[in-house]
Symmetry: C2
Subunit: 310 residues, 2 copies
């Protein structure tokens, strides 16, 4: 099952983090943009190609020390279909380097439509008899508001193609509590959705105790992370909100189990824009990203037990 | 404000329905597929071009009698970036024919990422000083699980570019109640989200009493439709689930106000596949779609007062 492959990569790299590739054009060094704009004009084509170059160079510098990347679909869609082509190319390139790819799309729908999303992002598409892979990520973030009808079409693809999903449970943003913290009986909405994840996962258990149904729980809520870790023993966590959004390493450690496993922590802007913070030569952006990845990893594992299977 | 334009189109056509363009390759007549596969191979390129031809011919036959189309993003993403290019082309073509376009993407995220989705689907993208339109729909479906942080970035685009959103409130599927019907105090989850829509909408009211923040409420739950219509007087409804999913015209009438306004009912498969049901020549598919659109309209308006502003 999918998160088995991720877990194995985490153990090998001793690094439970994922680099979010959410490449606003602002983040791309000037020299790359100038080159692409000169060739393709100040167009989506030019922007999308600049972003692909940026992503590729970051992947080249980090693939040996980070288990996974997490491209955020919104930042590709905003550059039109050309941007979406860059998403596909980025996923393919990261996979060619052996990385695990989590497409952050927060997709959600029902029945046949959710099957279409599953085919698009995790599985294969039928072309009247032949099949082809559209985006082919290893995992996809999804929203569980629609209940089982929105999740079960994904589980089949997870089983068939060895993939996983992360369901939004307790998100990292300030207003996440408006709905997620409300009480249903004596249980919060997020805990209710968390329970559903645990249940959905029963159909797709992996060999290391985690199912193919993970959960998104924000770094900015360490108490809820600890609560969910305890309540959802088979649910692997994707933890956004470390760094830029204010989540600290001690806090995120609450999302891990006694083997230093069970979670992966995302950082996007701090890695992509490390060269800006360092104020180094912009041509050194990928090496700066590597330095930030190492800093982040050291920070986080300093609060964890040694990462190893029992 | 956005739904003003939609309301005006509904009054003009006397038709409160929207045609969902969710084009699985299965729905596309053989003669179109054969032609495109012959030219481009059995590839995403071939499939995406076949789907565009299919969509275009349906739009040509219905644009004078239907106010809006609703392309479902999943069915384009499953054909890769080539499919997503067909989504962009379909939206542009429908707009060129004067139709209102609702992209059914159920997007959701927070802060800067939601701004990226807003730019992608409703607004414009900054290309280092110049701006360009990526997908440019008139409205987008969204998921409100993340609270205000996931909605407010859209409201700015709604105001600036005269666009709208539809937030998932009570979805049409069987399992929608697993979370949405649970009680928070004495109020269901869906009613709680509905109340948020009404509140978010205060910032973006249109001239006909409806705001830019609409809600998705399924045709399959007429009681809840009636309840929400009463509770959310400024919230325009998008009603899926008519026909194929089992919602009837009498039921969907509960979502409308005393002027026959306040809602738009979607039908996808029944229109796209009308030629299969009729068992007519497949080359007659677009005319069969038009016949189904007229049948659906007559069915629905037979339960409504005359559609007119007070």
């Amino acid at each position: 099952m999918s998160f088995d492959r991720l877990i194995e990569k985490i153990i090998k790299t001793q690094n439970p983090t994922v680099v979010g590739l959410d490449p606003k054009l602002d983040y791309v060094p000037q020299y790359i943009k100038e080159k692409k704009f000169a060739k393709y004009g100040r167009t989506f084509e030019g922007a999308a190609r600049a972003i692909y170059t940026f992503n590729k160079k970051i992947i080249d510098e980090i693939y040996d020390i980070v288990p996974a990347i997490k491209p955020q679909a919104a930042y590709y869609e905003m550059y039109g279909w050309e941007g979406v082509r860059t998403l596909a190319k980025t996923i393919a390139y990261a996979k060619s380097k052996g990385m695990f790819v989590i497409t952050d799309g927060k997709r959600n729908d029902i029945g046949a439509t959710m099957e279409a999303y599953a085919a698009a992002h995790l599985g294969v598409t039928d072309l009247d008899g032949e099949v082809a892979e559209a985006f082919g990520a290893d995992a996809l973030t999804v929203n569980g508001y629609l209940g089982t009808d929105g999740i079960s079409p994904l589980l089949e693809q997870c089983r068939t193609y060895d993939k996983g999903i992360f369901v939004l449970v307790k998100t990292s943003n300030k207003s996440s509590g408006e709905l997620q913290d409300k009480l249903i009986g004596d249980k919060t909405v997020y805990a209710t959705v968390g329970e559903m994840c645990e249940k959905w996962g029963l159909e797709a258990m992996g060999k290391y105790g985690y199912s193919s149904v993970g959960a998104v729980v924000g770094a900015t809520y360490p108490e809820q992370l600890a609560e969910m870790r305890k309540a959802l023993p088979s649910t692997f966590f994707l933890i956004p909100g470390y760094g830029a959004q204010g989540g600290g390493a001690e806090g995120v450690s609450k999302g891990f189990d006694q083997n230093g496993l069970g979670a992966i922590v995302n950082s996007s802007r701090a890695v992509m824009c490390a060269y800006k913070k360092e104020e180094c030569d912009e041509k050194d952006f990928a090496k700066a990203a590597r330095r930030e990845v190492i800093r982040m990893k050291e920070d986080i594992i300093s609060y964890l037990p040694k990462i190893a299977l029992e």
